[in-house]
């Protein structure tokens, strides 16, 4: 449970200091504790959260969606049903993404193999075969 200053966190995670402050402002990150100096201090859980945010963005989630994912927790039996509902919804979404990415994956593999076989040139975009793979409609 070491205390990290903004700059250290930014460097470790690979974002910059302003982004960190921005995430705090939009409540994607909790307010960190401050010492007498007024400096922010972060812990390992914060780092974890930031790593997740960073990667989730690359996976196509908006900051709003990421906030929702991070908010999925059982806080009382009252919200348990909500959490379940929301999670199931997200799950479906994610499964579709996995499927579509797999389609793109297989088209790319095919394309790479064609390159190996000295295939003839074409005007068409091979990647559009993904559409015929039926998942993306």
């Amino acid at each position: 449970m070491i205390d990290y200053k903004v700059g250290e966190v930014a460097k470790k995670v690979g974002i910059n200091v302003e982004t960190l402050r921005y995430y705090e402002k939009i409540k994607l990150m909790p307010k960190p504790k401050r010492k007498e100096s007024g400096y922010r201090y972060y812990d390992d859980l914060d780092l974890k959260r930031l790593h997740f945010i960073k990667r989730a963005k690359e996976l196509g989630f908006s900051l709003k969606e990421i906030k929702e994912l991070l908010g999925l927790k059982i806080e009382s039996t009252a919200t348990c049903g909500d959490v379940k509902h929301l999670s199931e919804h997200k799950l479906e979404d994610i499964r579709k993404k996995i499927n579509d990415l797999k389609n793109i994956e297989s088209v790319l593999i095919k394309l790479i193999n064609q390159c190996l076989c000295e295939a003839v040139s074409t005007d068409e975009c091979p990647i559009l075969e993904v559409i015929d793979s039926d998942i993306i409609e």
Copy 2:
């Protein structure tokens, strides 16, 4: 090979007309043929391309990356090596995405099961277990 007008295309694909013009401007979509009126006319391949663009965005690719994916084609033996190289790079990228999404998937499944078992409430964010799943570092 029906000819579709902008409005029809927009409706079919679920984007709006201005977006279509925007894609043309940034060269993500080719210039469509025009009739005497000056109206744009699109065909089924254009629709396919637009569907792909739409979904690829949702999968976390930027318009620039989508343009690259669409540009992956063997145009001559000269570019064949390039295409292979680029495709392999994209492939790696996509495989990582699939992996990370699978991790998120399994955490969500776990969470849903906890909801069913009337688990106790927690302050932590279950989704952060994804980080421990080792893929996201």
